[in-house]
Structure formats: C-alpha cells, structure tokens
Amino acid sequence: MPSGPDSRPQSVLLIEDEDADADALVEALLPYGGKDLIRRVTRLSEAVAVLAEGDIRAVVLDLSLPDASGLSGLRRIRALVPAIPVLVVTGLRDDRLRAQALHEGAQDYLVKGDVDGQAIAQKIRDAFDRQSYQTNAADAAEERNKSASEDERRASWFAHAGQIVSSSLDYDSTLDNISRALVPSFADECAIGLADASQMGSLRKPPLPELQQRIDSALASARTWFDEDRATLMVVPMKMADRAIGAIALTLWPTRGRFSPADRLLAEELALRAALALGNSALYRQARSAVALRDEFVSIASHELRTPLSTLQMQLQLLQLKHNAEVPAPREEVAARLAACLGQTKRMARLIDTLLDVSMLASGRIALNQEPLDFRALVRETLERLRTESSSNQLVFEDGDAIVGRCDRLRLEQVVTNLVTNGFKYGGGKPVQVMLKANQTHASLLVRDAGMGIAASDLQRIFGRFERATTARHVTGLGLGLYVTRQIVEAHGGTIAVESEVGKGSLFTVTLPLDNRPETPQQSEDAR
C-alpha cells in the first residue's frame, strides 16, 4: 500500500551549502515534520558519511557544492545508495543537464525559482510514495515467501507432533508421547503436570519447585503463562471444556533462542490436542477397568448364586430319594427339608435383589418410600428375624424408648441387615453389638463386632462397589453390602462411618436425620 511521507526523524538528507535555500526548503516541509524530518549537510563528503548510517530515505541534492559540482555528486550517491530517490535542485536552467541527470537516475530535476517550497515538498512526497511502494511491494513479496515457508514448516511440525500425541490409547504412553512430540523439535525440556496428580506415573520425575508453581497456576487458571521478554519458558494448559486437566511447561535453553508469540499459539494448539488424547486414553482406561470389574463381579455373582443352588438341588434330591424309598420319611423331616429349600430360594432372591439394587444405585435411581416410624421397633424386629435366620451368631441389643422419625422401612431394614450380617461374617464368631441413640435431630445406629478388623488403608475403599478389605478368594458374598448400605443412607440424607482396629474389630455408625417435619402433602401440592 502507498503511504505518505515517511515521518521518521531525519530521513531526508538535504545537501545544500546555501543557508537561505536550505531554510526555504525546511519551511516548505514543515507540515511533514520540517526540521525534524530533514538532516542538512553542506558538503558531499558529509553526505556520504550520513548515507552510510542507513537511516536516509530520500536525498535532495544541490548540484553546486564546495566539494562536488555537476552530476558527480549524483553519480557518487547513486553508486552508494541506488535504491534511495535523489531530487536534484539547482540554480541552473539547463535542459541537457536535466536530461542527463534524469538519465543517471535522479528522481527529478528542479530549478530554484521555478518551483516553490510547496512544489518541492510535493516532489519529495512523490518520491517517498514511489519508493515506499516499491519497498513495500518487495518486502511484502519477501514476507509472503518467508511466512509461507514458515507456515508450512509449522503446519508440518504440528501435523507430525499431533500424530505422535494421539498415537496411543494407553494413558502413560500418551504422557510420554506428549513429551516426545515437543522435545527436542520444539523445546529443550518439557514437564507435564496433571490436575489429577494420581494419574501421574510414579516413575515420572517431578519438576523443580519453581516450575511446579507455574504449572499449578496454569492448572488453576487454565491459562497460558508466557513472558514475551524472557520467552525461554512457557506453560500451556491442556484444556477440556474450560477446565485444565493438565499443563505442559516448555523450556528453551538460552543458546537456542526464545519462543515467539507464534510458538505460543502452536504450543497452545498442541496442548489442546494433547488434552483430547489424554481424555480419550483416560476414558479407555476407565472402560477397561469397568469391564474387568464387571467380569470379577459376574464371577462372584455366579459363585454366590451357585452355592444356594447347590443346597437347593441336593435337598430336593434327598427328598426325591426319601420319596422313592420303601420306608417313607417322617413328616417332620420332609417339613424340615422343604423349609431348607424355601430358605435357599429366599437367599437367592435376596442376592438377585442386591444385584438389581446395585444396577439401580449405579444409575442414581433410588426411590424412597418414606413414612413416619419407630426406628427402635424397626431395628428390634429386624434383629429378631436375623436371630432366627442365623442361630449360630450371637447378637446383643439394648432395647429402649421409641425413636420416631421418617424413613423408608424396607431400606432401613436392609441397612440393619447388611451391617449385622457383615458383623457376623467378619466378627470371628464373637457377639455383634447393636445400639441405637438419638438426639433432637438425628438417630444413630451403631453396629460393633469384635472380629478381624479392617486395615486403615482399606477403610475408605470398603464403601465402594465390589470392594472388600479381604482378597476376593477369601470372600463369601457379593462385596456389595456396604456399598448398597452407604447409598441408602446417603439417599436418606444420612452418613455412614467406620472405626476399626486390626484384630480388635470394627464399629459402623449410621447417622440419619429424624426429619420430623409435619406431613403436609397438600401444601407441597399447592406449592408446585
């Protein structure tokens, strides 16, 4: 694009030994910067020295100078700086000289007295325009070539790096690949921080504290840290949605230069690609572990169903044998075997219910049918049932006054059953103690066993799905009891906690809000 006179200071060199002529010219050029624009010298030798400095964009040359006359000055200048326009301003009206000057490369030939300062200013402006147009065109062409090849280089690097970053579905390999894509082709060192620190492999070397701080702040803000002045370090966030799931710190050794703003954009773009790759591999890992967990669950569930099925089948086979025998079995024996069969069918039904519960709880669908009831009566009745079902286990319960609150009767029974049967299972044959306490707002159910206890490292895990503190082979049961219990308790707005000591036993405490607000369904109906 053409532009106006260059207003950079002292970009026009005026070579004029006559003060009056020089002053007139400076005055004429005042609107364009005047004195500041013009640098004046009186001799050609001085002019040569100034031109060598390289700041001059146009020359106004008088043909009669103390150290040069005629076109010798013009030739000297043209030889020295051929790209800079030279305006000849002279007192000589000489057409041949004019033609010669133009032939030798003068931009124009102006006769003092024929043109005023205004006209000279216009000529200088024209000269500037032409020159900057030519320069701009040349620069633009060069810039285009340069940036095209730079763009190509970046695009090809990015395509390659992007490929490396997304070449694996394995999480740890993806972390390695991010480093591999960036070092050494883009940076000399690379450190990665993750929002979920547990995802970092244990072998990965932690970054220096100062770097860690920058990584942490990029993680928190989800923004790039880049100091253009220092530019040997930048930290770019790996973003998914608007959250940083990680951050990459990139370092250049001082000998290799600095990151440019374009490098920053490139790094940010690759970090997005890296976030996507990490997200994918995390999902893949989750899916695989979910499948492994499900396989383990199916195996346990199959085991748990086959055991009561064995008993049922054998009881029926014994009944059949008795039935076919010459001497029929006494009525009491038949009744006992039928009761045992029914017991096993109930047990299988409970197992199936638990399986359904789990799939329901996992998808967050737990419908509570809350009603006002006496917690103590409910616990008492549940314990009586458990006593008759497992006569070999001892149960201690201190009865007391009614504790009235609102909850889902069947679900609370389930909670009591799960905790007490757990106590039987892990209680080492010692009595399981059940207590019920209440204050104004909450009721607490405490179930204590004096069995093997739970290691501190397992305490949180035991409330997870398919989790148990012992190894799977040692287990009987689905490993779902405490998971289901916690889900039910939390659906009631309550909490469950455990204290335990290995070898001494465990104490489970369930706290439920009594929620004794008067029942006003009518009001809530109106309020909707």
Binding site: Q313, M314, L318
Partner: protein, 123 residues
Amino acid sequence: MSAAAAEVLLVEDDVALREVVTEGLVMDGITIAVAGNGREALDYLGRSPLPALILLDLRMPVMDGYEFCLEQRTVDRLRPVPVWILSAELDAGPRAAGLQVAGFLRKPIDYHRLLGIVRQYVP
C-alpha cells in the same frame, strides 16, 4: 467337629450346604467331619485320624482352598490324602489341574455324582 475317625472331611464355609451334604452322606452310611475353612481343616487333620477323602471348596474366608492345597502338600502326613474340589468358579477346572488334586466337581452339586465320587474312596 467329631474327633472320631471320619471317612470324609468336607471343607466348606456355607452352613446350609455343609448340612445337606452331611445329611446325605450320613444317610448313605458314610461318616463325615466338617470344617468351615482351610485353617479349620488343617487343625482337624492335625489332631484326628486321616480321612479317605477331602471335599474342598475354593472360596472361603480365613484360608481358602488354594492355600489349603499348598499347605497340605508341605506336610508329609497329609500329602497322600486325595482332594476333590467343589467349586462354583467357572475356571476352577483348569485351576484344580494346577493344584494337583484328584478331581473337580462344579456347583451346583449333583448328589448322585457326589456319592459316586465318595464311593471310589469309601467302599
């Protein structure tokens, strides 16, 4: 657990299954002792005459069937006692092969099949 010589030792943690197997075998005139897990079984074997056959569940608390087999093999006196695995696990067959036991019976258990096996060892 009876200290008298039993022909079969049943190692199984499920009480109902233990009862029905015992009732069936007793009905057929076989003497049987029971243990709730591998540890109880080793304790029993340590202080009682050896049975002709051990029926062993795999998944049990305290000491499971695998651990019991490994322990049994380290004790000279116990090593010759044949073991049949009773398990609900799908891959218990191949695993039983690795445990060098006499055989494997998958749950749910067919009583007639079980009796047939016991009769091989207790005529």
